[in-house]
């Protein structure tokens, strides 16, 4: 069998221009983890159900496991590595830390990116809006309560008290 023909991909990845040659069948998830070394994006169910692989595509949460990397051509992709660094946590990450919102942590990158997209709109989403926004991100540890509290705390940190 002949090796797959690679195709050129150019995108903006965590704010920086990025070019690569990818096998067309490569998912965005595999591209990010194995070609870019961005392993913060987790491989979970690989069926679009669990949300562990959520990244932002042009600012909107999507499951990277159901997208060909080539579909990101010319688009902006944000992974958890683009949200903050260990030295400079994003307010949302700081709020998760302070609220004890992470246990095993596997769902947290996707959870943070879904929450980030929600808070990008500004204001103070109520609990129902927060729960709706993370309803595509499954967590098997926390029971969600501390995650919801953390997202409310982050909204206060970013936009002041309601």
């Amino acid at each position: 069998m002949t090796p797959p023909r690679k195709q050129a991909l150019a995108l903006t990845l965590n704010g920086a221009s990025h070019e690569a040659l990818v096998e067309p069948r490569t998912s965005l998830l595999t591209f990010l983890r194995e070609q870019c070394g961005l392993t913060g994006t987790k491989r979970g169910c690989e069926e679009g159900e669990c949300g562990a692989c959520v990244v932002l595509l042009d600012g909107r949460p999507v499951t990277a496991c159901l997208i060909f990397a080539l579909e990101a051509q010319g688009r902006h992709v944000t992974t958890i590595e683009g949200l903050g660094t260990a030295q400079h946590l994003a307010p949302l990450q700081q709020a998760f830390l302070e609220s004890g919102a992470a246990q095993c942590g596997f769902c947290i990158p996707g959870m943070l990116l879904s929450a980030h997209a929600l808070l990008e709109h500004g204001g103070h989403p109520d609990e129902a809006a927060i729960r709706r926004a993370i309803s595509g991100n499954l967590c098997r540890c926390t029971g969600y309560d501390r995650i919801v509290k953390a997202i409310r705390l982050a909204a206060e940190m970013e936009h002041g008290h309601p």
Partner: protein, 291 residues
């Protein structure tokens, strides 16, 4: 899914030409939330993917020609779910779009993809059928329109000619004193529908039924319409007695199968229950306009 070739043409004509080059081994790609897994698990012979997302005219929501609403086939579920004009006019469709997968899936999944995937449980097909939707189809040479009822032939099978592309979905502007609603039953929030139902009603000036249209999903090889409701209900108020009639007729119209999610008998009974709920909610919306 070996040796895939990925194309992203910028026009419908280019897309059709690519498809016609090798239709047996090619698939159009919309949001990909169904196709991606299908390519991995049950379409081993497909080696060409033609992404339609770079064709600008396939996306967007607007009015026209005339008073009909036009929703581009590549419009994403999240954009339908949150669209204020659609929510005011076609809440049945917005409610259905709002339960397709979770939010990350709804940011990818498209209306045209949901219809062309031709699942009998496609959530948006049920309200669109009740709302008398049409689909615009382009084959590269010409464009024509057909009733949505003529699009699906059976599970995962459409009547589209090889190469044809659904470009848009058309919805007639709602009549005065009309309402529509959607109802759905699942085992869990992320699962596909066990049964879904949608109703579109038009009332006369006295608040009595002028027309009652009910569509049911996941109870037959395609989404189906419950026939003869108009004859039974025209001129009557949509009260409890009328809702009993809806329930009986919907249950009788259902032709479900037994599967891992539910028995045929349970599905048929729930089809009746959901149909009655949808008609009740649609009537409330229609009455709201007359008050």
């Amino acid at each position: 899914m070996q040796n895939l070739t990925y194309h992203a043409p910028g026009t419908v004509a280019e897309a059709v030409a690519l498809m016609r080059a090798d239709p047996a081994h090619s698939r159009y790609l919309a949001g990909g939330t169904d196709l991606y897994l299908a390519l991995e698990h049950r379409l081993p012979d497909v080696h060409t993917v033609i992404d339609l997302k770079q064709i600008p005219e396939l996306d967007g929501i607007g009015v026209g020609p005339g008073t009909a609403w036009r929703i581009g086939a590549l419009t994403r579920m999240a954009d339908i779910e949150h669209h204020p004009d659609l929510r005011a006019r076609f809440p049945a469709l917005c409610a259905a779009a709002a339960v397709v997968g979770g939010p990350p899936v709804r940011n990818r999944a498209t209306l045209g993809g949901n219809l062309c995937n031709a699942s009998p449980a496609a959530d948006t097909a049920t309200p669109l059928l009740a709302l008398a939707a049409t689909v615009s189809v382009a084959d590269g040479d010409s464009e024509h329109s057909l009733p949505l009822a003529e699009l699906a032939r059976g599970p995962r099978e459409t009547t589209l000619a090889p190469g044809a592309i659904v470009t848009a979905i058309g919805l007639p502007a709602p009549a005065p004193r009309s309402g529509n609603a959607f109802a759905r039953l699942t085992r869990s929030a992320m699962d596909i529908a066990l049964v879904n139902a949608a109703a579109a009603v038009v009332l006369d000036e006295d608040g009595r039924a002028e027309s009652v249209t009910v569509a049911l999903g996941a109870v037959g090889p395609t989404v189906i319409l419950v026939s003869e409701l108009d004859a039974a209900l025209a001129g009557k108020p949509l009260d409890d007695e009328a809702l009993d009639e809806v329930r009986a007729q919907a249950e009788a119209a259902a032709r479900p199968i037994d599967d891992v999610r539910a028995s045929a008998g349970y599905r048929a009974e729930m089809a009746g229950v959901l149909a009655a709920r949808a008609v009740r909610d649609a009537a409330a919306m229609a009455l709201g306009e007359t008050r």
